[in-house]
Symmetry: C4
Subunit: 368 residues, 4 copies
């Protein structure tokens, strides 16, 4: 291959090796899956050639990506770890499933269906998935019992319906498996309507099943809501705690106060060159810089604020109108303090209030 | 045009220009959209003339409204701001969509369909929409991950069903797009029943999809419930804080106590001449007047209470029966203190308790 | 009429006049509505005579009930109040609707349908309805905005579908009203399947509508859950507060402590002769008697405990096994203190702990 | 029978008698119910012999189990208690239902359907069922009122629909019972589509019913979510309290502090030889041993930690990377302290902080 191409590949490889999902990968997944979908649609017959091309391209991409990662991991001696990790397994499947099927002589149209497995590659990239998993784990006890109740209702109801309906409509309720199908469709309130009881008793049983359906829904949601509330609180705390400890402004406070503060702050990750405060807008929160840098666009001059500095406090000290544009200059992590909590915090820690007042006055003078 | 008409228009224009939605506008939206709906119904053929008339009237109204606003904004030099604001865009669409379509030679029946866009004009008028938006923004992380999970289930399930059902019922499951349609209809538990798996395996997959549907529901709701609880708390606090600070009665308290109080009070906006307390009714809260004026209808005389005054405290000091009718004389903002919180508050701040007792006694004597 | 009958009627009248719903009334509602239902079913033709008899009986009952109440209210001079109250209106409807219809010459089968209005009579009897209403009122703001969003989605979606589907299936999507029907059926995830989009674009729009459906569900529930949590807390507090103040045991405490205690206790209304504690059962709460009387069934003798006394404390002081049967002798209101809160309470108010210990010891000795 | 068989049976009987559900029982339930399901399916005709065999085997098992338990209970003098307990009744049903039916001359295919009742045997084994029941009991008030509202809507709506639709589609809306069926199917948003209103008015009523359906859902879930949150809190507290009191480490603390700690800890039951901490993993919690023993796998040597000891504290004292594998050596109960709460706890009880620091240092040195 020609030099530039090689170097380009090398560069690309480097990018790929490290991070979990490159933009390219997302594109590949999207294109690949959609092509697979098209492939099965007769209306797209004339474009079949193109579609196959796209599929092959995606496949090549994923194989390449996988190989690069294997090489990278091998070098850094984490090969075993990677191959046993979920990411590694997903990559392997993405790269091997379709070829394997083709090699094993599955007819292509079917083999390509396996490319739907590529969607699994986005899983690690889902924001807050860890959080969801934790909720499911912590609440697994009650969730399982709801599921068991669900299954019991399904079995009891389907046998009852089978007994009541089998003679009237043998073609639909002719066996318990058929009745089971009806029960699931009904208890989840999906209600296809392909299998419907017609006898009075059968309908009464069905009505009870539907109402239980509401109950199952309710319990399920209630459990998840409870778990989620607890998890959110926990998650924010962890994210915020270390950031707070980095802000000298809070260093003065004792651990109790820090725990206090941490419960109140919200973390915010921002890319570079993002407008945080727009001049003239309504303001109801102030910001502490945990990491990165922001630029305050004052009349005449621009002021940089670095790690540990704070801004937007004016909005909380009486005048709600934002006085200047503020935007990040690099990727930054900010801690947001809502007006609500600001008030409470100031009330509990007058010393903080003074520090902020003083700083605010200083700036006001300076910017005269 | 004749003088009176012009002046009437001028007056109307003034009313329109300022506020976001006049009553007239709401009527126009309602009438317009309903006429559009009727227009498409053959049972309304004979009334077609009238319906067209109504539609044209509404259109004229919206164009007029838009022009008036543009003029108003131009004068006050906020034209650019207005035209780039969502309200401005919605107004423009409402005024131009249908005419544009007609001019471009779209056949009328279709062109008028665009008048459904008029419903967008009510959006800014929706109470608590800001609150909902905030919840969606704050919880976007988890919500997006649920959505991604939703899509993954849809894709995996539909390919599986396509593979299992395509030979048995090629007309419905003949392509993955068709299977996708089935998957969405099923996972949202809508269950039209137009596409239903019939093979045993296909039905097992379907059952799993339905149960995941419950899960998606549950997570979704859990997340929103959590976010909403936090948002409500925050919102009430902000609304109440400034009102509280206006009530001299609380001026005595330190900031910590005010934060306390604020957490307990609930704000209530009332139009003029509204009955707040009905004599003889059960009472379980007292009121502070943050803005406006109320009139206490005592035997023999009427007493006015202005900003900063409080009333209804008797109900919290033992006798639950309301002693007199109380109603607003002008638009007022009241702070409501529930019996629950009253008790706690009094316990924490005995001085407040005394003030209220004293005032209550004074009034009791006075109204002897 | 014969004397006994008259006196019986008088007695019955007395019972009826006062309370809102007598058992008899519930029975009448049930019988009446079911008869009405049967009346419309051809399978019940031969029993038509009986059914009519029952219906007439119920009607007579309700008319009688209404007259008695009118008389009672007139005597106690609350006639106007009663007739304008919801209960009064419901009674009037229950008594007059059917006769009025019959008099106006509506054919009987239809006239009797109005007897379904009798179900309205149970409304005042629903437990916790007040609570539900309060939640709906307090959260009305957000709920309305969700409803408005719901309607907007319905209108926009139905016009879009009408535009996309009218040519393909004119019989189902031939007019916007038809499309509106489809939109409501879909957005509520009911999905009858009588009207289903078939064009690719139409199905994509439909998919979006279904997913919005989940969103609407989620928001709706989130709002109600939030409101309900707040309401429950408030409600328990009110119910409990006055009871607590009646228990001498807590009289010692200052108001702050009482607020504390009140937050922890749960009220429980019990009929006479109800078993509260079963000997040998696991116990994790203690009871205070706010009103009524209980009987402790000790070996050899029975001990009565009256208002203000407490029992079941042993379970919280180490030995979890209940030592004796305890049951109410008359209708009683008990305050339940869970182990959880007991621990916290004892920690905060050591004096209480001592009182309870002392009493427990005394009893232990006594029952030696 | 031969000796070994008898002894085997005896052994098995012993195992069965005591515990509620042996693994064998779960297997029997699964096999039995599935066989019953198969029996009704014509596709399984050729395997009918086998299926019958399995069913008889399960039946014999359950009868045997029941007899063994009866004998066991009789010996321990708890026969009456057992036979009146839910478990006893379920066992009796499981053992007698099918034989009774067969004896009474019900044709076999139908008689065997009763074996679905075997699923009831798993109920006692459901985790967290007690918790669910408690929620349903505590919230029964509001839940019942929602149910009543549900029924009222159903009755009013179905009569209305019957009135509006009976003439247009007499075969589906020909009687109120039929309309009731429609109402339930619609209000639960199941929507089979077998009965659908077609008149404009009928559809408007239906739309209202569907929207009420969302409301019912929402209320239901809101109530359950609220109740569940309260119950979870209560449950964890009880589980944890006694464990905490067993940990000498907390003995120093006063009751108030213990209540504090208890609110923060989470209990975790673990089987023997379970990996708790994996070396190199991210750690965000520490563990206290309430019962059992764990083994820390340090370089060179293995250290056992017994009841009352704690581990994993390093993760909370700065270095997040777990330093060693830790696994249980016997069945153990651990108390988990999340980083969140650890911080708060240390802030409130500095003495605890010191103890932990000291211990941590000691270990660090030791493992040098």
């Amino acid at each position: 291959m020609s030099k530039p191409l090689i170097s380009a590949l090398a560069q690309f490889a480097a990018a790929t090796a490290g991070r979990n999902m490159t933009k390219a990968a997302y594109v590949a997944v999207g294109v690949g899956v959609l092509s697979m979908v098209l492939l099965t649609d007769n209306r797209a017959n004339e474009a079949r050639g193109w579609v196959h091309g796209l599929l092959w391209a995606c496949l090549v991409y994923f194989v390449f990506e996988w190989v690069v990662r294997l090489r990278h991991m091998a070098r850094t001696g984490r090969l075993a770890l990677y191959m046993s990790s979920s990411a590694g397994i997903v990559d392997a499947i993405g790269a091997l499933a379709v070829p394997a099927a083709l090699v094993l002589g599955v007819e292509p149209k079917t083999a390509w269906l396996l490319s739907v497995l590529w969607v699994l590659k986005v899983v690690p990239g889902i924001p807050g998935l860890r959080q969801l998993r934790r909720v499911l784990v912590l609440e697994s006890g009650p969730l399982v019992s709801v599921l068991v109740i669900f299954l019991m209702v399904v079995f009891l109801a389907s046998v009852a319906e089978y007994f009541l309906e089998r003679d009237v409509q043998p073609q639909t309720f002719g066996s318990v498996p058929a009745a089971l199908w009806w029960a699931v469709v009904t208890l989840t309130t999906t209600g296809y309507g392909d299998v419907v009881p017609v006898t009075p008793l059968g309908r009464i049983v069905a009505a009870l099943v539907m109402i239980s359906g509401l109950g199952v829904f309710g319990l399920w949601t209630g459990i998840l809501a409870t778990g989620f509330a607890a998890e959110t609180r926990r998650d924010n705390f962890l994210k915020t705690w270390e950031s707070v400890s980095k802000v000298p402004f809070f260093a003065a406070l004792g651990p109790a106060a820090i725990a206090d503060v941490t419960h109140m702050l919200r973390t915010m990750e921002l890319p570079a060159r993002t407008m945080i405060i727009r001049k003239g807008a309504q303001g109801d929160c102030m910001y502490f810089i945990a990491a990165g840098e922001v630029e305050v666009d004052l009349p005449g001059k621009k002021v940089q604020l670095g790690e540990g500095a704070f801004f937007g406090e004016m909005a909380l000290l009486g005048n709600n109108m934002r006085g200047a544009n503020v935007s990040t200059t690099k990727v930054s992590r900010l801690l947001v303090l809502d007006l609500v909590d600001f008030r409470v915090l100031m009330a509990r820690h007058p010393d903080l209030a003074e520090t902020i007042d003083a700083e605010a006055k200083r700036r006001a003078l300076e910017n005269k």
